[in-house]
């Protein structure tokens, strides 16, 4: 139709409209499936072995001290642990754990506390904070209702409000491991392994919190209307009588708080408490003092501390390596099975005789005595 004056309904003749787009037809044939399976097998197994070894290389010492407060005032061996002794000072609520490091922990060395059955991922828990309050303070009436039931008491706002802050882990670990001279259990040497509590939170976390000055600026003279969460008043001696201009939390620099506020994804979790990036942890027997305030018995959880090095994939976790090896082996096995089947009984690609209707009709036409082959 050359006449362009007449508006034609003729559809446009292009690749999309006519559904003739250039396309590749992926078909699983032995030629591409078998190499793929073998490739996955051959490449995943070494990677898995590498990851497994890397995980195995991580040195780790874990000790659960939940029951520490029930022990005696002198060092006694801990059941089920080899070479670990503990004692408890009831008056000061200090638990001292003596343990042996058998191999050198290459730097950096990390010190974690570990809680189990603690549902930091509980829905009411996760959201129970007010980000603005944490950054620069917030008027009571504007406070996020998610903070309930720790939002307000007697017209005074909790700072920081909410469940997360209130339930903060309050045990204090000594900032050093004290090496015990060998042979004499009760003597302590001056040789210590220092642990720093700096840089234990994600660097970006500091941006979410205000400094003490920020808060003081906001709350000003009205500090009497801002009270610490109930647990804090009990656990932190300095907050027993509430806030004043000097003890007001400096959240931006309080990394333990920041670490706590990053709610863990699973009910068993570790949180970084301190670390040493400078020196290796030499083998030997070490003591550590723990101020034991946090009651995990009440909800049936446990608490531990973990001293560990890391690998490229984090802690001592062989699972990734095993997963790779497993996938690799499965792939290889199927590769071999399919290869044998293919060699033993191959099927010609695109053979017409496999078409269902040809199957039926070959018998039919054969009776007519034709030879269409």
């Amino acid at each position: 139709m050359a006449d362009t004056n007449i508006k034609s309904n003729k559809p446009k003749n292009n690749a999309i409209r006519q559904q003739r787009l250039k396309a590749w037809q992926p078909i699983l044939t032995p030629k591409n499936v078998l190499p793929t399976l073998f490739f996955i097998g051959i490449s995943f197994i070494p990677v898995g072995i590498g990851l497994f070894i890397a995980a195995k290389k991580v040195n780790e010492f874990t000790f659960e001290y939940t029951e520490c407060n029930k022990t005696s005032t002198t060092f006694t061996p801990v059941p089920n642990y080899e070479n670990v002794k503990w004692k408890y000072d009831k008056t000061q609520e200090i638990c001292t754990v003596q343990f042996e490091i058998k191999e050198t922990f290459k730097k950096p060395v990390f010190f974690y506390y570990r809680l189990t059955s603690f549902f930091q991922n509980h829905r009411s828990y996760v959201k129970s904070y007010d980000s603005e309050q944490l950054l620069k303070g917030k008027k009571l009436e504007k406070l996020d209702s998610n903070c309930d039931p720790f939002k307000v008491k007697d017209g005074k706002q909790y700072f920081p409000c909410g469940l997360i802050a209130n339930s903060m882990f309050t045990d204090v670990f000594d900032n050093k491991l004290v090496k015990v001279t060998s042979g004499n259990n009760n003597e302590t040497s001056t040789e210590t392994y220092p642990l720093t509590e700096k840089d234990i939170a994600w660097p970006s976390d500091a941006d979410k919190y205000g400094t003490r000055n920020d808060f003081l600026k906001f709350y000003g003279n009205d500090l009497s209307n801002v009270i610490p969460p109930p647990n804090w008043s009990i656990s932190f001696p300095e907050y027993q009588n509430g806030y004043n201009a000097t003890n007001f939390p400096d959240l931006k620099n309080w990394e333990h708080f920041q670490v706590w506020m990053r709610t863990a994804g699973l009910p068993n979790f570790r949180k970084l408490y301190s670390k040493n990036t400078e020196t290796d942890l030499k083998p030997g027997i070490y003591n550590i003092d723990i101020i034991n305030k946090y009651d995990v018995n009440r909800y049936g959880g446990t608490k531990s501390f973990v001293i560990t090095t890391t690998s490229i994939i984090g802690g001592r976790n062989p699972f990734l390596g095993i997963a790779y090896i497993f996938v690799g082996i499965v792939s290889l096995i199927f590769g071999i099975i399919f290869l044998i089947r293919h060699l033993y009984k191959p099927r010609k690609l695109g053979d017409h005789k496999y078409l269902s209707w040809n199957k039926a009709s070959t018998t039919a036409t054969n009776t007519d005595g034709d030879d269409n082959r």
Partner: protein, 1232 residues
């Protein structure tokens, strides 16, 4: 009364009874249950009312206009123009009195087939949308989410997508309805001449009113239901074509009352006064009751004066007629049922599965809310919250709601909109397919309802109209045999004359040779006689014309006759003039007049027509044409050409041509005089006149001399036989439902390859209920005995709502029979027998018999029967039915079927308007079904399965996580991340699959029609496959969650030693899910184009790149998603993220990959092979086989030719002589 005289009386299936005696006007209301009233009293009351009305004219006009506008709005709101009727069996229409008529509160002549208007849109649209379970579910979810404290997600995360979904659907609906409005407007704005004062002026159709007198010109459509007053033809005769109404293509005659026949100019017609009493509008096409009161005389009106909207004036210059029904009150529109909302099988199944998923969802939510109680971390709660939670009952409810919201995405919200969008896209692609665009009429294929595209891939039965669908409705005089020689209009090379061994010529001469031979040949006399017969013996009326090559247009009520006369004219025997007592033909510029002495009419028992003429030489001759059977019986002993002619007839028949035998006889003068006396007596006999005339005709129709035979081609549309053959290969059963006679229908069956020689015909032509029943049950019994056991054991079950649901839940039972297993059969059933067969006690047997046949032809069926047959099959099987037709008579069946296809491209096509798909040519059905249907089915099946899968793979991780967070309903993923999953990152891959995936390319699908069975048998989307996918989704989510959890290792996942948090875990998991789900999309893609790359790799890249950017911008700029602050970079820089991203997806998809390969090689399906044929371009040896089969076929064909020669004659029965005698073409017609 002579039944044959009135074509309308042959059908009466309305519940209203039609009184044959038109003088009594006691009549039931057809439509509504308004009481029975006698017309007479009402008539008087009405007259009084009219007088009263005139007094208060002014005020009443105002009132009525107010009423009209109010009622109009009201009607608009109901979406229907159905003005309330006064309780009266008749309407009283004043002639030439528009003012009084305007008081009649008749409806306007505008029609509206649109679904919505401005006022009803919102209501209707929302009603339709919320009839989908999914939408209701999401609305409820969205509402629950608004309750503070319940939702673990942002309150907008459901309502926003839902609004988008609804908005997109709304836009689509508006767009589609707009097109309907436009086509309505086109029709409403057509022009017509209306009498105003004493002259005709042009108005639009929409402005017509009841009582207006209109002038309709030749070949235009009637704008409303009319009563014929007068016409350009003698005695107010006119021809109409009603194919739009009933599918019958032969022209019908209507005749005005003699009292109005003389109103042949505007002045005359403007002066008539009186009242027309017309029945209230109803939907019965074949009955009419009315009285016209002229000059104090009451004259009954019958269907013979009725011109219905939808029919067309033919072969008549003009008519004057008065409007009785307008707009939606016309019988045509009354017949139009509101277009049903059709839901596809796939959608229904999806809906049922959604309900199941919903049950699972509820179960999961219940489980979790109970878990909340039972889990012994109550102590933990006490510890953390320092209060006991969940003591109030509302907390339980809240908890339950929380889980509902958390898991609500197990039911994919994007599915509905994705499906709508994809279906619309597919319909656009179908519309723009250039291969199914008809160049000559400039008509592309049109998907009117994009909803049904995938249904095209599952069709098992096609119900096709014949005329205009399979055939062009053009008859052509193709071949003839005269005096033992064959002639053809076009001679193909393989049919040219060859000299046989003994010097006998075999083959065909062309028509030029015939013209030569008619002047100088041994058989010249026979040829002359033959051609003269063609030009003389018929009921055609000639009209001079400059445009036609012969100089005349022949108006024939039978297209066959028209073709013959035209053929004779082209061979030099031009029929020129018809006078009441003679006809003239022109041969070699010489006018020859034949005196028409007697006419022996055609009817279906005689199967022949004869005329007795006196030729210019004064000899009396009998010319007869008719079916071979009846002619051969009446030949004289000395007939040299019988054997040859019979051979030829068989040959014609194999080609599906319609044949007639021609014979003549010289009648001695004395014999004629004797016979004529008998004839006169019969013609004037008072009782049994028709039978008497038939008997008399027998006396003279004997000792005939066979001149030869003609062959007319009922021209098939292009590519019809091929298409039918291909569709049969695709296991689609074609049922042809035609208004034609049995012989004609069988004929067409052969010529379009629906019937083949190896088929045994079961012809059911019974007269009574009992014989029909006997016939069907006998046949069925004997058939079952010879069949494989499974065939006879199948039993059809009524598709009750329960059984339908059951089949949707458990998959459909396959009652279909593999027809390859059984002897090829074809059923031919007559309309009358069919009527009985469709009765409740027989319908099952009939269905069973019919479904055993490869082809079914139903002849002489009414529009209602067409719809009934479709409904019958629908009732007992769960096959997908497609109906295709071109006329208004097909509308019922088109609407009843799952998929309605209309033929478009020619004017005035009701069917196309109420259809779901409109195509220009029957042959386009092939690509529409085999290619587009298959594509759509595969694409949508995959889209649905994949959409469910991807949501389950994603949101089941939330469930596993719930087990780890104390059943608190915490979400793993940040709110907007979740939303983006369905709205951004995984929306494109199903769309790309839905729009572009091709299981095979169009060439392959076309070449291997057998692959169509995949769709018919629901092999891609059925209950097993659906739950397979769901299980796979569960497995993937399980693997993803637990592998990530184990990798997570108490939050220490980077070399830097920092403790990771919940949200980091969420990000890792999200990335893994995304990788798995997008890889799965790649794995199921059959056809990877650039869009596939964008939608999969592109989406994943967008996530990886977009996340840090979003995590940086959104919290600081908009204050949303604070959870994402500083989350992504530590992960990206650590190794753990990337190795997890590799191993988990590979682990998940290794299963799918291996399984897919295993299926291809060890459970090979045909489509696997064809895919390979396509990919590696493997040549097919099929052409050779095909060729071989054809050869075998031909041999069989020749062997088995022992059946009816195709005889056909589509003449109106009765009244032929009267019409012939009425015309005198030498007189000048009134100009109107």
């Amino acid at each position: 009364m002579d039944r044959d005289n009135n074509p309308f009386m042959t059908y009466s299936f309305e519940d209203g009874n039609y009184e044959e005696d038109n003088d009594t006007y006691e009549i039931n209301n057809y439509d509504d249950d308004v009481g029975l009233t006698t017309g007479q009293t009402n008539y008087q009351q009405k007259n009084l009312a009219n007088k009263y009305a005139k007094k208060n004219l002014l005020q009443r006009i105002q009132d009525s206009s107010v009423y009209a506008s109010v009622s109009h709005v009201f009607n608009l709101m109901r979406g229907k123009d159905d003005t309330p009727q006064p309780s009266d069996s008749f309407r009283y229409i004043q002639l030439n009195d528009p003012v009084t008529n305007s008081l009649g509160k008749y409806t306007h002549n505008r029609i509206s087939t649109a679904k919505y208007n401005v006022f009803t849109f919102l209501y209707k649209f929302l009603k339709e949308q919320f009839s989908k379970y999914a939408n209701v579910f999401f609305l409820v979810t969205a509402l629950i989410q608004q309750i503070p404290g319940v939702s673990p997600l942002n309150p907008l995360t459901t309502i926003l997508p839902l609004s988008i979904v609804l908005l997109v659907s709304a836009v689509k609906e508006i767009f589609e309805d707009y097109k309907r409005h436009c086509s309505d407007n086109d029709e409403n704005n057509r022009k017509i001449q209306v009498l105003v004062g004493s002259s005709f002026i042009v108005k639009k159709w929409r402005d017509l009113h009841v009582g207006d007198i209109v002038r309709v010109e030749n070949s235009s459509f009637f704008p409303a239901d009319l009563i014929l007053l007068s016409s350009s033809e003698p005695d107010a005769l006119c021809y109409i074509e009603t194919s739009n109404l009933d599918g019958e293509t032969n022209l019908k005659v209507r005749q005005g009352l003699p009292e109005t026949a003389n109103l042949t100019n505007a002045e005359a017609v403007s002066e008539i006064r009186g009242v027309l009493k017309s029945e209230q509008p109803n939907n019965s096409l074949y009955t009419y009751e009315g009285v016209i009161e002229l000059n104090g005389k009451e004259l009954p009106l019958t269907p013979n004066q009725l011109l219905l909207r939808g029919s067309q004036l033919r072969n008549t210059k003009w008519v004057y007629a008065i409007i009785i029904n307008t707009g939606h009150e016309t019988k045509l529109m009354k017949n139009a049922t509101e277009a049903p909302i059709k839901q596809t099988n796939l959608e229904k199944m999806t809906n049922v599965q959604i309900v199941f998923l919903f049950v699972i969802l509820i179960a999961m939510s219940l489980f979790c809310s109970i878990g909340y109680f039972l889990k012994d971390f109550a102590t933990f709660q006490e510890f953390v919250f320092q209060e006991k939670l969940l003591q109030k009952f509302t907390d339980i409810i809240y908890g339950f709601f929380t889980f509902i919201i958390l898991f609500n995405n197990l039911i994919p919200i994007s599915l509905v909109v994705t499906m709508e969008f994809v279906k619309y896209g597919q319909s656009v692609l179908i519309n723009s397919d250039i291969e199914i665009y008809h160049e000559e009429t400039d008509t592309p294929t049109q998907c009117k309802t994009s909803n049904l595209v995938e249904e095209l891939g599952q069709v098992e039965y096609i119900f096709s109209d014949k005329t205009g669908t399979l055939t062009c409705n053009v008859m052509e005089f193709k071949m003839c045999t005269i005096a033992g020689k064959s002639y053809a209009k076009e001679v193909t090379d393989d049919k040219r004359i060859v000299k046989g061994e003994n010097g006998v010529e075999k083959g065909y001469y062309d028509f030029n040779r015939l013209i030569e031979n008619s002047k100088a040949d041994m058989s010249v006399n026979v040829i002359v006689e033959f051609l003269t017969l063609l030009a003389v013996c018929h009921t055609v009326i000639p009209e001079q014309s400059d445009t036609s090559p012969e100089g005349y247009i022949y108006q024939a009520s039978s297209p066959d006759e028209g073709a013959l006369v035209k053929g004779a004219a082209s061979l030099g025997y031009v029929f020129t003039t018809r006078r009441p007592k003679s006809v003239s033909i022109r041969v070699d510029n010489e006018e020859k007049e034949f005196e028409l002495l007697n006419i022996c009419e055609f009817n279906s028992t005689r199967k022949r027509m004869s005329v007795v003429v006196r030729n210019p030489e004064g000899q009396i001759k009998l010319y007869t044409k008719g079916a071979d059977t009846v002619i051969l019986e009446r030949l004289s002993g000395n007939n040299p050409y019988v054997d040859y002619t019979l051979n030829q007839l068989e040959e014609y028949a194999t080609e599906g041509l319609r044949t007639l035998c021609l014979a003549s006889r010289d009648i001695p003068e004395d014999e004629y005089i004797r016979w004529n006396k008998a004839y006169e007596k019969a013609a004037t006999s008072l009782t049994n006149r028709a039978a008497e005339l038939d008997r008399v005709a027998e006396l003279i129709e004997k000792d005939l001399f066979l001149l030869g035979a003609t062959a007319i081609e009922d021209k098939l549309q292009e590519g019809v036989p091929d298409t039918i053959h291909t569709l049969a290969q695709a296991n689609i059963k074609l049922w042809v439902l035609t208004g034609d006679k049995q012989e004609t229908a069988i004929n067409i069956g052969y010529s379009c390859k629906l019937l083949t020689e190896e088929m045994s015909l079961i012809v059911c032509n019974e007269e009574t209920h009992n014989t029909t029943k006997e016939f069907i049950s006998n046949r069925l019994r004997s058939l079952k005995e010879s069949m494989p056991a499974y065939v006879s054991h199948r039993n059809f079950q009524l598709q009750t709502p329960m059984s339908k649901i059951r089949s949707l839940i458990f998959g459909k039972k396959d009652e279909s029979v593999d027809l390859d297993d059984i002897e090829p059969l074809a059923l031919v059933i007559d309309g009358k027998s069919l009527g009985y067969a469709l009765e409740p006690d027989m319908e099952l047997m009939f269905l069973e018999l019919a479904t055993l046949c490869r082809a079914v032809i139903c002849c002489r069926v009414s529009p209602l029967q067409k719809a009934l047959i479709v409904k019958l099959v629908k009732k007992y099987t769960n096959s997908i039915l497609l109906a295709i037709g071109d006329g208004a008579n097909d509308v019922g069946m088109i609407q009843a079927a799952h998929v309605g296809v209309g033929i478009s491209g020619v004017e005035g096509l009701q069917a196309a308007r109420s259809s779901d798909f409109a195509i220009a040519q029957f042959r386009y059905l092939r690509k529409l079904l085999l290619v587009h249907g298959s594509w759509s089915y595969h694409r949508l099946s995959k889209l649905i399965l994949y959409s469910f899968y991807k949501n389950i793979a994603m949101f089941m991780t939330q469930f596993w996580f719930t087990l780890d967070n104390g059943f608190s309903g915490q979400t793993l993923y940040e709110s907007w991340t979740i939303t983006s999953y369905n709205v951004i990152f995984t929306v494109f891959s199903p769309v790309v699959i839905g729009l572009f995936d091709q299981i095979l390319n169009s060439r392959m699908l076309d070449q291997y029609p057998q692959l169509y069975k995949i769709g018919q048998k629901s092999e891609v989307f059925n209950i097993k496959i659906f739950w397979g996918w769901i299980l796979n989704g569960f497995f993937h989510s399980f693997a993803i969650y637990y592998m990530t959890k184990w990798i997570w290792h108490e939050s220490i996942v980077t070399a830097s030693g920092y403790s990771a948090d919940l949200w980091m875990m969420g990000i890792v998991m999200f990335s893994v899910v995304l990788a798995v789900v997008l890889l799965k999309a790649i794995l199921i893609t059959n056809n990877w184009n650039k869009f596939t790359t964008y939608a999969t790799a592109g989406a994943f890249a967008a996530w990886i790149i977009g996340l840090p950017i979003y995590g940086w911008i959104a919290p600081s700029l908009f204050g949303i998603s604070p959870e994402l602050i500083g989350v992504s970079l530590p992960l990206y820089t650590g190794l753990m993220f990337w190795v997890s991203l590799l191993v988990i997806p590979v682990f998940c998809l290794l299963r799918d990959y291996i399984w897919k390969y295993y299926k291809r090689f060890y459970k090979t399906e045909s489509y696997h092979i064809v895919q390979e044929i396509q990919k590696f371009n493997i040549p097919d040896y099929r052409p050779r086989m095909e060729w071989f089969r054809k050869a075998v076929h031909k041999v069989r064909m020749v062997q088995r030719l022992k059946r009816n020669r195709g005889y056909a004659f589509s003449q109106n029965e009765g009244g032929q002589a009267r019409i012939i005698r009425a015309y005198d073409t030498t007189q000048i017609k009134p100009s109107g």
